[in-house]
Amino acid sequence: MKILVAEDDAVTRKILAVTLERLGWDVVTAKDGEAAWQVFATLKGKDAPELAVLDWMMPGLEGIEICRRLRATPGFELMYVILLTSRGDKQDLSEGLAAGANDYITKPFDPVELEARVRVGVRMVNLQRSLAARVAELEEALGEIRALQGLLPICSYCKKVRNEANYWEQVDSYLLSHSDVKITHGICPNCLEKMMKELDAAPV
């Protein structure tokens, strides 16, 4: 998992990056808020960070403003954000959390606390990722169910059905292409009796 560390202080940025890398995470750093926003704007897909540690007070764009922007930008609403602050005031913390931060760490940070809080974040990101995959699966399944629930024209004689492309096809091929069912072919007793009669009547 990639983690973005945005911190204008070179010393703190270095310690954060080294600590997180030592714990096995891939870290990308930004020296101020604008650079952090550029990371979000340019890194996409697998290269995009899924968790961000943002310093509250940075020149230009502050961590709390990045938080607000992320929550308002499609695709970044679920980014896990940890605000880094030297403030301990409850009012400030409440402002940070209201802006969309998931958690906070006060400076100077304790490496053990940093690891614990980042691990919580990673768990949340993995959980959200797994939930998103399940929702996608369910939506896909729901789409198939809806397809089978629609009005389906069927020939009264040959029992073929008319598909969306306006072609008549066998019921079994239609079901195979519109659902997850697997079909096994057999002969029902009525058809078997009819077929046997036809075979008996056939000239040898």
Partner: protein
Amino acid sequence: MQRRYKSSRYPMSHNEIGECWEDLDEAALLVVVGGNRALAGELAVLFLDDIEPRMKEINIAVTEGDAVRLRAGAHALRGSAATMTAQSVAAAAEELETMGLSGLLDGVQRALEKLNAAIAILRPRLVALTGAP
């Protein structure tokens, strides 16, 4: 959070009510860097490189009586110093930051002198940490 020490093998800085802060808590710094002394040296280099521009910013703010600028400059130095476990510098910078935040700059010169003195004590210890001759 400021930690107070009763004794140390290193000289300490004192404020007017007798509290003292260690100039550089090397043991705590080594915990932060996971025992990596080379990394501690790299951080010392970064911190030393940052002192001059940060002090320039603070000095301009004090000269111009710009409380907002003073607060921002002192805040930056405090954060950096606290991460380096340079407690006396962090405490002196915090005093200036508080003045900037309140807008009351009475005694700012004295606070600035205190910060300069703390940095003067810290600098050789950081240089030693970098391993430079």
